[in-house]
Amino acid sequence: MSTLHTVNKSPFERDSLSSCIRLAKKGSAILLIEDGVFGAMTGTDHSAMVQDAMKNASFYVLGPDLAARGMSEDRVIDGIQVVDYSGFVDLTKQHDTCQSWL
């Protein structure tokens, strides 16, 4: 069974992302939304943790939430796919369940 995990909190403020990474099964998808998008950026204190987790899970980030916060898609970690709202819908369809790490 495959799960889509969504994380909407900044990794600097809460441990939602690290908990998600720790507990997501290999082959899961992790979608970063709202303040969670800061976890997708290069050069941060959390980039290495995310890059390491990408060996086990596929990562996505919601483009409109990046744009709202002035975060450039050019500085998203290589291998994290930027999706729009219809891409978000597709991800929910592709997985059996969705878990929100609020």
């Binding site: 980039s47 709202a68 500085r75 729009d84």
Partner: protein, 134 residues
């Protein structure tokens, strides 16, 4: 009425929660009282003044241009903690160009953002009469 030193401490990213917008509104209201106002941006608060915010896609109002108006209200001390920027892979270039016009210096445009270390910011916070946290 004597003038007091007011510091608004901003520690939250914009849009995900309402803190950043609420802080800015209180700063603007407070500006009418002609006090000695400073703002500081710490932790995720530094994201509030990031350049190129475009909110059309999330259906929320982009309030970042309002920071550019602060100079007109004589709110021109915006302290940014260097350590917070660095932890987020950001530099001053990633922040909006926020300036004010110094009427005592032929209306010269001067930067409002002051990049400070944690130790320097601790000193500034220690000098305040009133600290408001957001």
């Amino acid at each position: 009425m004597s003038t007091k030193k007011f510091m608004y401490v901003n520690r939250k990213a914009p849009y995900g929660t309402v803190y950043a917008l609420e802080s800015l509104e209180v700063v603007l209201i407070g500006a009418a009282f002609e006090q000695d106002v400073s703002l500081c941006f710490v932790g995720d608060g530094v994201y509030q003044i990031a350049k190129n915010q475009k909110t059309d896609g999330i259906g929320m109002k982009n309030f970042s241009p309002t920071f550019k108006a602060l100079g007109d209200y004589e709110v021109n001390k915006l302290y940014v903690e260097k350590e917070s920027l660095e932890a987020r892979g950001l530099t001053l270039d990633d922040l909006m160009d926020l300036t004010w016009e110094d009427e005592d210096d032929d209306y010269a445009e001067k930067p409002s953002i002051r990049l400070v270390s944690s130790a320097e910011l601790a000193e500034v916070l220690d000098e305040q009469d009133v600290v408001l946290s957001f």
